[in-house]
Every structure is written in structure tokens, then in C-alpha cells.
Amino acid sequence: MSTPEFNNPIVKWIEYRLPIFSMMHHEMHEYPTPKNLNYFWNFGSLAGFVLVIMIVSGIVLSMNYTAHVDYAFASVERIMRDVNFGWLVRYIHMNGASFFFIIVYIHIFRGLYYGSYKAPRELLWILGVIILLLMMATAFMGYVLPWGQMSFWGATVITNLFSALPLVGEHIVTWLWGGFTVDNPTLNRFFSLHYLLPFVIAGVVILHLAALHQHGSNNPLGIDIKQKGDTLPFHPYYTIKDLFGIGVFLTIFVAVICFAPNYMGHPDNYIPANPLVTPTHIVPEWYFLPFYAILRAIPDKLGGVLAMFAAIAVLFVLPWLDRSPIRSAKFRPIYFVLFWVLVADCILLGFCGAKPPEGIWVILSQLGTAYYFAHFLVLLPLLSLYERPINLPLSISSPKASASEPQAV
């Protein structure tokens, strides 16, 4: 790798002491990116963009928010009414959370479809799952802050889950609450952690990027870069493509914020929290619904809690469950079908999570849960043994040539 020549004396002075310009040059101009990335590869940078939006809007909100059970709800309403453009910042933050999950879920399913979790990108994938977990914790605690009915009862139900753990469960719950019920100490620590965790996420994102730049992006064909013609410099090709993606995203995002800002929320959260009145139907935010369905699918509380955490945990070991050397589902005819069944299964679980747990919905969530785990724990390992892949192309530059090339990647 050549070190670029800098002519500006100030740049030279800094570069000599802190090689930041050569690093930027390396990452932007030399960083070889496969030339065949499709628009699904936009969602990584888009997620980073939304993280920045969330942190900036969150910092502004925290300047006007009061983390106290008597004032939290009123302080959010004050932001909505009396703070200049407070409604805008609050709706950006509130809908930003939903859009963050939409983008990250697409990003994850992109990784699943194109086998981006396979060697040598296992740690890249695992770091991504850690980001997902941190996002879930952050989103959950953020939803508690407005101190509406769903905030309070969601916090009550979810923190109570830990009481299912034998022996230590109750102590953990008391410790989480900072008392014997969800109350002011709970709200205070959730606010503190909700402010802290996004910066932890940002840190893991940097690791995620470092791991990405070690071996570069996977690509829709799932084959390695073989020659110089397979790649393009990241700038300007992918900077402009990502900018176009950000334009599309912002258009949709602003339309939702301005025309339907409460569409993805729950009306009950505009009722101030009342520990004496339980809402008839407690549901989490939409992005937790599949996990909520898994939680309720198991008739035993501890079993449900374990299944819910296992639904994420299974993603950590995915690189070792799917042993097929072929990455992209394009060349795996059976995996292609299973992938879309998994997508449908997750959507089904989402619907189950939104419905009261009775009648057909219980059975559907149990079937959905069973299939979810069967996909990862049974079908993928078996598939690695029995699936006959389609012949891979020779290289990214010559996608048509395949013929009788060997299967190994």
C-alpha cells in the first residue's frame, strides 16, 4: 500500500505526527470494495447514519427532559409544546428508534441471505449481534422514559422476567429496580443507562468496522475477490451510492415524522403511568414483538425467558451451525427457500406477539418458535451436509463463466 503524497504544509505537519490523512486515504480511496454490491449493502452505512441521528437528537432531548416519576411525562409534553421545535426532535428520536430497527433487521437478513457471517467474517457477525443486543436494551430503556402507561407496564413485565431465574431471580429484580417496585430509582437508572449505552454501541460499531475492513465486504455472489477488476475504490463509487440511499431514507423518514409520527407507537403511552391501573393489553414496541411471541409461546415462565434469550444467542453460534462453504443463497437452492420461510416465520411471530395469547395465536406462536429454532439448530446443520449447490462463477468480473469449476470458495 502506497503512502499518498501530501502537498499542503498543514496537512503534512499533522500527517507527520498523526497519520490521519493517510488513514483516511487508505479507507476511502484504496479500500477495495466489490464492484457488484447491490442496494442491500446500503443498510450498514444507513444504520450508522441513524445512530448519529439518535445520539444527536437524544442529547438535545435530555437537555429538556426530567427523569423523575412526577415530572417525566409532563417534561416530555413540555418538549412537545413549549420547546422550540421540541416536537420535531422528539418525533425524530421516537421514530428514529423504529427506523433504526427496520434498517438493522434488513441489514441482518442481508447477512443471512448472502452468508456474510461465514469465515473469515465470524467476528464481524458476532460484533453485529452484540450491537443488536445493546440496541434492544437501549430501546427498551428509552421507551420507559416518557413514563406513560406502556412505559411503566412494559418495564414492569420485562424486568419481572428476571424473577424467573431460580434462587437469584428476585434479588436481581430488586437490584434492577433499585427498590421493591418499578419506581423513581428505576426511572433514574434507566435514564442514565439509556444515555450511556448508545456510546457503547458506537464503540462496538468501530470494532464492527475494523473487522469489516480487515477482509472487506462480502458481496451478492459470496465469492472472494480474485483480481483487481473485481473491486472499486470506496470513494466515489460507494460514497455516492450511500448518499443516494440516505436521500431515499430521509424522504421516507421525514414523511413519517411529519404525517404519521405516532403510527408506530401505542396510544396508551399518552396516558401518564399509573401503577394502580393495568392496561388491558400490554404490548412492547413492534420491533420486540417476535421475541415477545417466543417468550409467551412457552407455557413455563423460566422456559419462555430462556427461549427468548436463546433466540438471540443462537445467532452468536450461527457461523458454526451453517457449515456450507457456499456463502450466497443464490447458489444454494434449498437454503434460498429456507431463508424466505424464516423471514415469513419471523413476520408471523411478530403478528403473534401483537395478539392476545389465546386460541389460535398460542398455537401459531408455538409453531413459529419451534420452526425458528429448528431452522438454526436442525435444518442449517443438515443442509450443510446434504445440499447440492449450484456452480459458482469464476469471479465477480465474470459472473457468467462457471461450467465445471470446483465448488470450494
Binding site: L88, L167, E170, F244, A255, C258, P267
Partner: protein, 267 residues
């Protein structure tokens, strides 16, 4: 001992999770069988002026709705998030706002002797609540707390139709449906036995602009007013949205063209 306690608590919590929905449905069914209305009264406006991309409040109707609120609803319902000065956003003049605020009294700052005396309200004051606290409000209303109306059109499942549903939902109970003393049959209230007597009667308020104060008219006006109180920044938000989305579409098209130009030689 401790283990059994934690077990029973865990089971209770799990049961709560699994049964919360079921219990709610069961409760609905218990009241539902005989009490379910044969047909819902048709009354709601199919489209409110504040819905849609170009939505805005009907300012005159909302100001009339304020008259309905302060002369009828305010006897029992608080409106804690509403300040008199907010009427300016509906086009009320400063003098009108000062005039209506002065009709109400709010507690003043403690004077030099430490006594808290009432003073006439000013535009910056919030609308005074009818009861000193929620206990007093519930006690004066047969144990049922009249909810604060500030966010009523954002916090119920029917959203902007909630008030018109409830106000238009009073009817004679179906045969065989017993409504307890002091409750009123309402087709839109969960369980149907509703604690509020039909509040609006023909001519309950006298409108300054001469609009006949029919129950249907007052319901529409009240919805405009309460929708405004629930979401006072709606007009600003939608107007901004139209401009920004228009700008972003053009920007995105331009970005797409640049992208195509940059990638021209690659394909």
C-alpha cells in the same frame, strides 16, 4: 420457604402475562353477550380537517369547541396541558385571551405574610382544574375519575374519533342488559356501563358567532378543540413536512443522477 415464595410469584407473573389478554376478553364477553349493541350509532365525521398530508384545524370550530369545553366539560374534566395563551394559535386576539383568562382564578404566589390568595388568571396560566386533586375528582363523581382531556384524542384506541364516539354512543340498552344505578349505557365504552351522564344538550352553550349549538355541532367543535390541545404543533409539522419532503425528493433524484454518472463506466 423463600423458594416457594419466589416460585409462586414467578407463576403469578407468568399467569399474568398469559392471562392478561384472556382476562380482558373474558370481561368484555361478560358484558358483551346481552349488552352488545345491535348496531353502532352512526355519527362520526368520516374525515376530520386535521387528517391527511395537508391537514389543519378548523380554527373557528376549535374556538367554539373551547366554549363547549369551558362551559360543559370543565365542570368535571381538567385540561392540565392547556394554557390560555395557546388560544392565540387558533387566531384569538390578545384582548380576547386576557378577557377569558380573567374569568378564572388561580392561586397567587405567597404574599409577604405567606398567605396564598387567589388572583385572576393571565394568558400564561394553565386552565385551572375543577378539583384540587384526583381523589377529590373521583369522590365527586361516584368514584370514577374523569380523565384529563389534554391528550384524550391521542391516548385512546379510536384516536381522533374517541370523543365523537363516546358523545354519540349513548343509547337505550338492549333488552336484558342491566346497567347499574348511576351508570349510562354507551355503545363505545368497553363494558358499556359508562360513568358519565350524556353531557351535551341542545343549546348547552351559546356561540358568539351565532352557530346553532346542536349536539352534533358541539361534538364536532369539541373534537377540533381537543385535537388541537392534544397536538398543538400539528399544522406547523404538516406544513414543514410538505416542504421538506418536496425538497428531499428533488435532492434524492439529483443524487441518483450523480450516482448514475459516477458509475457510468463500471457497468
Amino acid at each position: 420457604m423463600r423458594i416457594t415464595k419466589s416460585l409462586s410469584r414467578a407463576m403469578a407473573a407468568a399467569g399474568f402475562l398469559l392471562a392478561s389478554g384472556t382476562a380482558a376478553m373474558a370481561a368484555g364477553d361478560a358484558g358483551g353477550g346481552v349488552c352488545a349493541p345491535k348496531s353502532m350509532p352512526a355519527h362520526t365525521e368520516p374525515h376530520w380537517s386535521f387528517q391527511g398530508v395537508f391537514g389543519h384545524y378548523d380554527h373557528d370550530a376549535a374556538l367554539r369547541g373551547f366554549e363547549v369545553y369551558r362551559n360543559v366539560c370543565a365542570a368535571c374534566h381538567s385540561l392540565k396541558l392547556f394554557a390560555f395563551r395557546n388560544l392565540a394559535e387558533l387566531g384569538a386576539t390578545e384582548d380576547e385571551i386576557k378577557g377569558v383568562a380573567a374569568l378564572y382564578e388561580v392561586p397567587d404566589q405567597p404574599d409577604d405574610e405567606g398567605e396564598v390568595k387567589p388572583r385572576p388568571a393571565r394568558p400564561a396560566d394553565r386552565f385551572p382544574s375543577p378539583f384540587p386533586n384526583e381523589k377529590a375528582a373521583a369522590a365527586a363523581n361516584g368514584g370514577a375519575l374523569p380523565p384529563d382531556l389534554s391528550l384524550i384524542l391521542k391516548s385512546r384506541a379510536a384516536l381522533e374519533n374517541h370523543v365523537s364516539n363516546i358523545l354519540g354512543g349513548y343509547m337505550a340498552p338492549p333488552a336484558g342488559c342491566d346497567i347499574p344505578e348511576g351508570k349510562f349505557y354507551n355503545a363505545y365504552f368497553p363494558g358499556y356501563a359508562f360513568g358519565m351522564a350524556p353531557p351535551l344538550t341542545e343549546g348547552a352553550v351559546e356561540y358568539n358567532d351565532g352557530t346553532p349549538a346542536t349536539v352534533a355541532q358541539m361534538t364536532k367543535d369539541l373534537t377540533q378543540f381537543l385535537a388541537f390541545v392534544a397536538e398543538p404543533t400539528l399544522e406547523e409539522r404538516k406544513q414543514m413536512g410538505v416542504k421538506v419532503v418536496f425538497f428531499l425528493i428533488i435532492l434524492t433524484v439529483l443524487l441518483f443522477l450523480v450516482k448514475r454518472q459516477v458509475w457510468r463506466k463500471v457497468h
